[in-house]
């Protein structure tokens, strides 16, 4: 039985006249459009896609952190049997930080610049574990120690700007794991960090998850992260899952042209010398609505007019449990031929 079961989650931003961040005037934007996936206890699930595909919005929706005004959330997300999406404000506030925790992308901006680290760690202990004063401080110090921050007693008194980038992310992680949550959502936790630090942070995350049996929902655009960490992967494009598979299966056989493209655009040491990288054309802005066909069509190397006849459904063209949303999936037989035709 899965810990979290997301079913047909959709998030729509209502169009504002002049409001910020809500797209063009008067038009509602569907940021997430019927996404479903499960996360089991102790499992690491990846949500992959380029920026704007809806993965972060999905995470925020699950945490109940989307603004209530101008945003409508549909579908269900059962966490331990209770629907996170329809849960009352007070109830989800109790869950947040204790059962559900989240790590954000930019550790500097995610920490309050004018409050000492110590306070930011202890406040969560006070809230959910009732720890106060010296007890809270001691616990906070041991948390920092656990996430690998040296000299935790001194660091507790310091402010975010006095810490290095990696240290800040460790502090954020310390806060997230402070109450031993059952589900940890990590939203691009390594993007803002140096490469060497990235690996350390991922290592730390893995360690913590393994130790506590915490389920992890890993949100990233970095397939490298996915490869090293995730058990199950969901590839999102324009608010919909376009491919869902186990890690090995996906890396071995990327079937949706988008996933295929993503993997193709990673530089590989073992690739033949002189072979160019194959980036995906354009950006996610240049999409058409899913209702009119496949949203990826304008950027797709394999598109045919069939792609525009309606929303493609998730199918399992290659293997059971490997779902793909494509009418013209990349299958071993026709792949190279088609690619050659279009690119010539």
């Amino acid at each position: 039985m899965s810990l979290l079961s997301v079913d047909a989650l959709s998030v729509t931003f209502a169009g504002h006249g002049t409001g910020r961040g809500a797209g063009r005037a008067g038009r509602a934007t569907k940021a997430v459009d019927g996404v479903s996936f499960d996360v089991a206890e102790g499992q690491v699930v990846g949500l992959v896609g380029e920026s704007g595909c809806g993965k972060s919005v999905t995470a925020l929706a699950l945490m109940g952190l989307l603004p209530r005004k101008g945003v409508s959330v549909g579908g269900r997300a059962e966490f331990d049997g209770a629907d996170l999406l329809s849960m009352g404000e007070k109830k989800i506030r109790d869950l947040r930080g204790s059962q559900l925790a989240m790590i954000f992308q930019d550790p500097l901006s995610s920490l309050n610049p004018v409050v000492p680290i110590g306070v930011q760690v202890t406040e969560i202990l006070t809230r959910h574990r009732g720890l106060k004063g010296e007890a809270a401080r001691k616990e906070a110090a041991s948390l920092l120690d656990r996430v690998g921050i040296p000299d935790p007693d001194r660091r507790l008194k310091e402010y975010p700007h006095q810490l290095s980038g990696g240290m800040r992310q460790r502090a954020l992680i310390a806060m997230a794991v402070a109450c031993a949550p059952r589900l940890l959502i990590a939203d691009e936790p390594t993007t803002a960090l140096d490469v060497t630090i990235q690996a350390q942070i991922l290592e730390l995350l893995k360690e913590l998850v393994d130790q506590e049996g915490t389920a992890l929902l890993m949100i990233t655009h970095d397939l490298g992260v996915v490869a090293g960490l995730c058990d199950q992967v969901n590839v999102l494009y324009a608010g919909r899952a376009v491919e869902t598979a186990g890690r090995r299966e996906l890396f071995a056989h990327p079937t949706h042209p988008y996933a295929h493209g993503l993997l193709g655009s990673i530089p590989r040491l073992d690739a033949p010398r002189g072979e160019p990288l194959r980036p995906i054309r354009g950006s996610i802005n240049d999409k058409i609505a899913w209702a009119d066909g496949c949203a990826f069509a304008p950027r797709c190397d394999f598109y045919t007019l069939q792609c525009l006849t309606g929303t493609p459904e998730l199918t399992e063209p290659r293997a059971p449990g490997h779902q793909v949303r494509c009418v013209n999936p990349v299958l071993p037989a026709d792949r190279s031929a088609d690619a050659a035709e279009v690119s010539s």
Binding site: L95, R96, F104, V114, V115, E123
Partner: protein
């Protein structure tokens, strides 16, 4: 902290020196120079020469400037041409009234403005927000003296709720201790005098508060809106913290930083407003005195006042800096 204060105080010196040069030049640029200001147009050449000699105006400019500075350091700001009393005494006599008025105005502006700005931002687009925003726009656009006249006409003359002028009612026998009417009453136990002084403060303080209030509402609102969109607020929310903790520790604490700076900057406009409101309410503070000094071309008073205000302003901003650095740790390292 002490080093910050010391450094800012040191920085004060060149600033005030620069200002004193400006002032000195200004005084010398007055039509016909000081002699004519003193003697008026009646002056004969011989008289002008005599006065110029008497004031040492026939000496080199730097000698004159040196003397000007020396006098300032001795707190010898000269004698008011209107009242015949030393400028310094006139100031100490009237300053408490203006301080009381300004503090009351700023207090109103902060006490009303910050919550209003905060809730307007929280309920963006609600009627509260619309009222706060348009009200603050109006507050900025309505001439202070006109507002003061309207307030007085309505609440003092027609409704008779508040007194129409002055700092204390006639017949209130207040013992003078500090010169601050409200405080004196509390110190001496003459609560009725304090109450009377408070009643006299209400209308002018409200009129004077209009601009600072408007500025603070808008600053707070904009700042809260910005902070609400910050990642660390989301982090705080993701920790499931109590709403109160999120608001106080994570939203307000950050949102108030620019507001604090604004309060420091408002000092200048506050004193401008005081000139107008004190005139309307015949309040008897520095503002009204400055107005009559303007009319009477009482230059010793004006020069003294400008220096004085500059000093007050710099000190207030020093205070603001200190307060700022107490709240914002980032400033301390720089």
């Amino acid at each position: 902290m002490l080093r910050l204060v010391a450094r800012r105080l040191l920085q004060l010196i060149p600033t005030l020196l620069g200002l004193s040069v400006l002032l000195f030049l200004w005084l010398n640029r007055l039509p016909g120079g000081p002699a004519s200001a003193i003697l008026g147009e009646r002056a004969t050449e011989a008289e002008v020469a005599r006065i110029n000699r008497a004031l040492g105006l026939d000496e080199p400019v730097w000698v004159q400037y040196g003397r000007f500075i020396k006098r300032i350091f001795q707190l010898d700001l000269g004698t008011s041409t209107q009242t015949g009393q030393p400028v310094w005494e006139e100031f100490t006599l009237r300053f408490p009234a203006t301080v009381e008025l300004s503090v009351a105005a700023i207090a109103i502006a902060i006490v009303v403005g910050v919550p209003l700005g905060y809730f307007a931002a929280r309920r963006r687009g609600s009627w509260l927000d619309v009222t706060a925003v348009s009200g603050s726009l109006l507050g900025i656009c309505i001439p202070v003296f006109f507002l003061a006249l309207l307030l007085k006409g309505l609440f003092a003359v027609n409704l008779g709720i508040f007194p129409s002028f002055g700092r204390l009612s006639t017949g209130i026998d207040a013992t003078k201790v500090t010169g601050f009417a409200v405080l004196d009453g509390l110190l001496t136990g003459e609560f009725d005098a304090s109450w009377d002084a408070v009643m006299h403060l209400v209308l002018p303080a409200v009129a004077l508060a209009s601009i600072p209030l408007a500025v603070i509402v808008r600053m707070t609102r904009a700042s809260v809106l910005e902070v609400l969109g910050e990642d660390y607020v989301r982090t705080a929310e993701s920790k499931g913290l109590d709403k109160r903790v999120v608001r106080a520790r994570h939203v307000l604490r950050n949102a108030l930083l620019p507001v604090i700076t604004a309060v420091g900057l408002l000092t200048g406009s506050l004193l401008s407003g005081a000139v107008l409101t004190e005139s309307v309410f015949s309040f008897g503070g520095i503002g009204q005195f400055i107005r009559t000094s303007i009319d009477a071309r009482d230059y010793p008073v004006l020069v003294g006042f400008i220096l004085f205000i500059a000093l007050v302003y710099v000190l207030i901003n020093l205070l603001v800096d200190v307060a700022y650095s107490l709240i914002d740790p980032r400033v301390r390292v720089h």
